[in-house]
């Protein structure tokens, strides 16, 4: 088995401790850094992502594999020509003001990272102005994701979108929302660009929003 194949198998199995050694071995074998990144590290995550989407594996398998991938990426990244390994997109995520329920948001963040997105997670109970500030600070951000679990807090999403409009930043980001009490109707009502009912669908949505943005 080539070291590259071995590395891919190792990432897919989530063997975090062996990834560093195998990544180095794959490079030493003469593989180009970009090939190691794509074939040895990203590809197994894509395979797992698809399996997860089909309900064939459990989320921890995907998450532990992602951890393994990141270890390898740390080694390969400095060797890459800049621009060769750009993220699939950059996103800011937050559970909105007043809401302390962020497990759903965390899952979306983890799955997005597994799908190659760079994500800035602002945590929970995040005020509109803090979200505006984060967009201002990150010139290259593509997507804002917001979550709420309560009917009493979901309107903070609307407040946040209004604050973003007031700051003149609405065209900078695509906005996606999620959480138990919200739906597509609510998303349209508050002027969000998309809604997803669960974490795997949120990844699909983020990819779709990236395509729209890059048009």
């Amino acid at each position: 088995m080539s070291k590259l194949t071995e590395l891919a198998a190792c990432v897919e199995a989530g063997n975090v401790n062996e990834v560093v050694g195998l990544t180095q071995a794959a490079l030493d074998e003469g593989n180009a850094p970009l090939d190691v990144l794509n074939g040895g590290l990203v590809e197994p995550i894509n395979v797992l992502g698809e399996k997860f989407r089909l309900g064939q594996i459990y989320v921890p398998e995907l998450l532990v594999a992602s951890k393994a991938m990141k270890k390898g990426v740390e080694i390969v990244k400095p060797l890459l020509v800049s621009g060769a390994a750009d993220a699939a997109g950059k996103a800011i995520f937050a559970t909105v003001a007043g809401d302390m329920h962020d497990i759903g948001k965390n899952l979306v963040v983890l799955l997005l990272e597994s799908a190659g997105f760079e994500v800035i997670d602002l945590g929970m109970d995040v005020e509109p102005e803090d979200i505006v500030e984060a967009i201002q600070e990150n010139e290259d951000v593509d997507i804002l994701g917001m979550s709420a679990m309560l009917t009493t807090t979901m309107y903070a999403m609307q407040d946040t979108i209004e604050a973003i409009e007031e700051a003149g930043l609405r065209d900078k980001v695509k906005i996606m929302i999620g959480g138990a009490p919200v739906n597509q109707v609510f998303a349209d009502q508050i002027g969000a660009d998309g809604y997803s009912a669960n974490a795997p669908l949120a990844v699909e949505l983020a990819k779709k929003l990236m395509q729209e943005k890059n048009k």
């Binding site: 302390m100 329920h101 899952l107 009917t151 009493t152 979901m154 309107y155 009490p181 739906n183």
Partner: protein
């Protein structure tokens, strides 16, 4: 349904932990409370806890064992609840099992169209009407989130309960202000706040956020209820594998720590504050990423918590049952709901909620409430157990009838037939008669019952004068809501 039957509230025989195992859970919990502690997002609470002897570092509070055990002993071992008319209704203690609906689902499965859609004010009223008509539903709990009133949904949920049902309640509120609004409405009906404290009508539902966070809103509510002398619960909902450890024992220890933190906050605020102990522990399905809500693990973990509360801490306990992860009131819903209701009753949890909770809490099903009402009736009958008093041994009957006779004409058969459980929802007809009646499934009959109650049932309304006062409070709250929504 046999209304003459003497209702029974106690069962026994279901247990998931031995006494030694409970002690072990307690010991591990003391370690976690002392070493990990919780983040308490409320300044005044942290000050009170520090004064009481807790170690406080920024927002983190570490609870030493002596304070934990002091608080456990400070809380009363029972809570008495009285109905809307002031009559004694629930003795929340020991192994007494009471069942209620719940809780605050955003969607409803429309009984007329079958559609899964957002709840509105009309649903809120209809759900109370249906649950009020169920003889084995002992108390009300917020059912439909009222989408017409996003900021004051909980007040509207409460107003419907108190306007259209006389049953005691478990209440969810958004924050301190909405809690005060609810207390005001209940005080109007009781006559005064003092009378409400003397005869509590409801228990307030509060929850920490797992893992290990006491949010500001939840702490405010606990402290307010404790100060006022009204009962409160603080039920964590860790999801195994996501917001709690994957193992049952691990999540029980975490939930115990989180719940006890709420208890300590209540008792530090006012020693003797009435507190309902318990948790909903439910494993997350790691494929769909949804809480399971009625998995075998969920039942064991959550009922083990009520066991610990009763056996080790001598506290009144919270419970869950009659809920499902199914998308509608189908076979899976009945299977999950029935098993949980039965086990919860026999394990001796006190205030068992969530009957009708469908789609792991995202939708309410009135049909499930109606069918689970039947299950609770059966469980109550099982609580009766075998009557062994002399005339129930039926020695005379057997001697009289002897071989080849029958018992249909015996006087005892006439009299004691009334003991037997009977349902007007179940079908016990022979096949042809069942077919002649329409050949319906239980689900179809439940749906017909729901529609009949909604269309033809009489509302169990408050006297007009009191009702007008509740409506006036609601109007005031709505006006304030409109101001903030501008």
């Amino acid at each position: 349904m046999n209304v003459n039957m003497r209702p029974s509230f106690r069962g026994q025989g279901v247990s998931f932990l031995t006494r030694e195992e409970m002690e072990q859970i307690h010991s591990c919990t003391l370690d976690i409370l002392n070493d990990v502690g919780l983040e308490v997002q409320h300044k005044e609470a942290r000050e009170k806890l520090k004064e009481a002897g807790c170690r406080v570092e920024k927002k983190r509070v570490y609870f030493p064992p002596t304070i934990v055990e002091w608080a456990i002993n400070a809380a009363p071992s029972r809570i008495l609840l009285y109905d809307r008319d002031g009559n004694f209704s629930m003795d929340v203690s020991g192994r007494n099992a009471y069942y209620g609906v719940g809780s605050a689902e955003p969607n409803i499965i429309d009984p007329f169209t079958g559609e899964n859609r957002l709840c509105n004010e009309e649903d809120n009223k209809n759900c109370v009407k249906v649950a009020d008509a169920m003889p084995y539903i002992d108390y009300m709990m917020s059912q439909c989130q009222v989408y017409d009133h996003p900021k004051t949904s909980y007040e509207h949920e409460y107003a419907a309960m108190i306007r259209y049902s006389s049953k005691p309640q478990v209440v969810i509120t958004a924050d301190l202000e909405s809690t005060k609004n609810v207390v005001e409405m209940a005080s109007v009906v009781r006559g005064s706040l003092d009378k409400l404290v003397q005869k509590p009508l409801f228990i307030l539902y509060c929850e920490p956020t797992s893992p290990f966070v006491c949010t500001k809103e939840s702490v405010e509510k606990v402290m307010y209820m404790a100060e006022t002398g009204l009962p409160v619960l603080y039920a964590p909902i860790p999801m195994n594998g996501a917001t709690g450890p994957i193992t049952c024992a691990g999540s029980i220890i975490q939930a115990n720590a989180e719940c006890l933190a709420g208890l300590i906050i209540a008792e530090v605020t006012k020693p003797g504050a009435p507190f309902l102990y318990g948790a909903i522990i439910t494993n997350m399905d790691l494929k769909s990423l949804q809480p399971t809500y009625a998995s075998p693990e969920t039942m064991m973990e959550s009922l083990a918590m009520s066991e610990i509360g009763r056996e080790l801490y001598r506290l009144p306990t919270w419970g869950t049952a009659g809920c499902t992860s199914s998308k509608l009131a189908d076979e899976q819903a009945v299977l999950e709901g029935t098993q949980y209701i039965t086990l919860a009753g026999f394990s001796g949890a006190n205030v068992i909620h969530d009957v009708g909770y469908t789609q792991f809490g995202l939708a309410h099903s009135n049909e499930l409430v109606v069918m689970m009402n039947d299950v609770i009736g059966r469980v109550r009958r099982l609580f009766d157990s075998i009557n062994m008093s002399p005339d129930y041994l039926a020695m005379d009957d057997m001697k009289e009838v002897g071989p080849k006779g029958h018992f249909l004409g015996q006087d005892s058969t006439l009299r004691k037939n009334a003991d037997h459980w009977e349902s007007d929802l179940e079908d016990r007809n022979e096949y042809d008669r069942w077919l002649a009646l329409g050949g319906k499934t239980m689900g179809q009959r439940a749906n017909e019952r729901v529609k009949d109650i909604i269309e033809n049932g009489k509302l169990n309304s408050l006297p007009e004068e009191l009702d007008a006062q509740i409506v006036a409070i609601l109007d005031r709250i709505d006006a304030a809501e409109k101001e903030t929504m501008k």
